[in-house]
């Protein structure tokens, strides 16, 4: 049994070891753990393995052609992230990184819904601790917001799972589709939150740029890709996803142009890129699913590379903002080259990994004759200028006067591995195509395909430089670009405080009436009820008097002043007893005769 749960077990053991190790030993241990996990993955026979009995259900892990490519990419990303964060003194991020990696692998290998949910939530917790590891006040808040948004998603998922199990009676995690009514919708919303599909995406661009330069490597690789996997597993061929994916591709474009923080630009490009995968999942043909998986694989690597290169800049300069950077190629040439390799990969430039994956998706769209989707993809490929913006504004553009040192060795090694994978997959796409879920005979390097990509990208580059040359390109300035997280960061507090004011006003009124005015009035009255009633009655009568107000008022005021000293003489004990006798007599008469 231990042999097939071992990729997870290896990572959990790795996490435990991180608690005790430091420096070089820690690095060696990280590398060994990652290689061991990778060897485990390579040696697992595909199939479904029962693990434990739980409440009468059998929990299973499943290793198949759809889940394994994701796992390979996760292990590679973990390795890269661990090497990249070697310089950290504290092992906190290493520990949570391994827990995060183990839980994301668990989610991907889960063969049943209970296992999926458990690892899904563990993933959220690990990610939150990684966000908090950067120890800034902004990261603290962002970590809390991350937790709240993902708890919402997790609860939707849980509700959907319970309903699905109730309907179908099985906990097997396979194709769900939209036929289960509200259960399908709840599960879809749960997955959509993690996939950062608008309008549920704002947590990503809020939290990721506030994480540390090392933590963001793990963050960018895991949560969203696990969501891509579960969507490919459970909702392949759902047409709604084509529309959502198209929105997802287009929505970030303006933010990519306007955003000043390059790590936020990369976060938006992450959303944009996942849009391609979601579209492919929505199409759902074998070619499209292959495209989605291939894109997820290469995207994990080149997005990590881009985040690492900007992270290295941030490590040396202390900022990732366009307004603080520029002209860094002079002293950070290697980092610049890695960044450009990442940028060329993400732009799907021929000979780089993005091209191998994106061509598959574009072909799948064309094969289904989805003209508008195809046009959207082309427009987005042209309009998403992050691949120029990130390297250009960081390393070229105007000279910022900063002369930082080149990135440390561990960062260079990590970036080098990622860059190597980008180039190798780009030149030999069959390496990637061989591990995809469906076998296919696809060749991206057709002359016409290469030509169209080169034409597109070169003219995008030309248009961008013309924008800059004309001086009408939006000026970069220190700013905060509002996104939908404005709703819960700004609007909700205002609404709550207004609502709170209303509630407080009502509370104060009720408080005054029932705890102040009413008791004191009753006390006042109880001193001499008859006299009090007489005073009130006189006041009431006074309002209806046509004349004689002045006299009446002075009389009432006099009575109030003397109250309750002059208790009326005839309201003595005897009269009270007489009154009670009359009441009793009336009661007896009523009881016996009426």
């Amino acid at each position: 049994m231990i042999s097939f749960i071992s990729p997870l077990v290896v990572f959990f053991i790795g996490a435990l070891l991180m608690l005790f190790l430091k420096n070089t030993v820690r690095l060696v241990c990280c590398v060994i753990v990652c290689i061991a996990a990778f060897m485990c993955l390579l040696n697992i026979p595909q199939g479904v393995y029962p693990i434990v009995e739980f409440w009468g259900y059998t929990l299973i892990l499943r290793f198949d052609a759809l889940s394994l490519p994701f796992a390979y990419a996760f292990v590679i990303a973990t390795l890269i992230g661990m090497i990249y964060s070697h310089h950290l003194k504290s092992s906190k991020e290493h520990f949570w990184g391994f827990v995060y990696a183990a839980s994301v692998m668990g989610a991907v290998f889960a063969g049943d819904l209970i296992t999926l949910f458990v690892f899904w939530e563990l993933m959220t917790i690990a990610a939150m601790f990684i966000i908090w590891a950067s120890k800034t006040k902004a990261a603290q808040g962002a970590g809390f917001r991350y937790l709240l948004v993902h708890l919402f998603g997790g609860l939707c998922l849980l509700a959907g799972i319970i309903m699905k199990v109730h309907y179908t009676g099985s906990i097997e995690f396979g194709y769900v589709g939209m036929d289960l009514g509200i259960a399908s919708w709840l599960m879809l919303i749960g997955f959509m939150v993690n996939a950062a599909i608008p309008p549920l995406h704002a947590w990503l661009t809020d939290a990721y740029p506030k994480a540390s330069i090392t933590g963001i490597i793990f963050l960018s690789a895991f949560t969203t890709k696990a969501a891509v996997y579960v969507l490919a597993r459970a909702f392949a061929g759902t047409e709604l996803l084509i529309i959502l994916g198209a929105v997802m591709m287009v929505y970030p474009l303006i933010f990519i142009v306007l955003e000043n923080d390059l790590r936020r630009v990369l976060s938006y490009s992450l959303i944009n890129q996942i849009g391609f995968m979601i579209v492919a999942i929505g199409i759902g043909t074998p070619l499209a699913i292959n495209g989605a998986v291939a894109h997820a694989f290469v995207h994990i690597i080149y997005k990590a590379l881009l985040f690492m290169s900007i992270g290295a800049v941030m490590y040396r300069v202390g900022s990732s903002k366009v307004t603080d950077l520029g002209g860094l190629y002079r002293t950070m040439p290697l980092t610049m080259i890695f960044c450009v390799i990442g940028a060329l990969s993400i732009s799907a430039f021929p000979l780089f990994s993005g091209f191998a994956a994106k061509s598959v998706i574009v072909s799948a769209v064309a094969e289904e004759h989805l003209t508008y989707v195809w046009l959207t993809i082309m427009f987005v490929s042209a309009g998403a200028i992050y691949w120029i913006k990130v390297p250009y504004f960081a390393f070229f553009n105007k000279d910022s006067g900063k002369r930082p040192k080149e990135a440390p060795l561990n960062m260079k090694v990590a970036m080098g591995i990622a860059a190597l994978i980008c180039v190798v997959v780009g030149i030999l796409p069959s390496v990637l195509y061989d591990i995809l879920p469906y076998s296919m005979n696809y060749m991206p390097y057709e002359l016409s395909n290469v030509m169209k990509q080169l034409l597109l990208l070169s003219f995008v580059f030309l248009a961008f430089s013309l924008w800059l040359k004309s001086g009408y390109y939006p000026k970069e300035r220190r700013s905060e670009i509002l996104d939908l997280d404005w709703i819960y960061r700004k609007l909700a507090p205002i609404v709550v405080s207004f609502a709170g004011k209303g509630v407080l006003w009502v509370y104060r009124r009720l408080n005054y009436i029932f705890l102040d005015w009413l008791p004191s009035m009753l006390i006042w009255m109880s001193k001499s009820p008859a006299l009090a009633l007489k005073i009130w009655f006189s006041k009431l009568v006074m309002y209806f008097m046509p004349f004689g107000w002045e006299e009446a008022r002075s009389a009432i005021e006099k009575a109030e002043k003397e109250y309750p000293a002059n208790v009326l003489p005839h309201w003595s004990m005897s009269s009270s007893i007489a009154f009670m006798i009359i009441l009793l007599t009336l009661y007896l008469v009523d009881y016996y005769f009426l």
Binding site: G141, S448, L468
Partner: protein, 72 residues
Amino acid sequence: MNITKSRFLKFFAGIAVLLVILDFVIPKKPHFGWDGIPSFFALFGLLGCFISVLIAKVVRFMIIREEEYYDD
């Protein structure tokens, strides 16, 4: 290095023009028909980048705030 300097611009424009000329020669496999028009993708790239920056420029004033906008 600044791409708005004219020597860089001329260099990139040269490459782009070369690609456009090549595009007339290279055989195409159009899927929809109109994507077989020569330099269709060049136009697409030019317009795509132009339009997305333009839209961003137009909506900028609505969503841009000071850096300390969220006090957290």
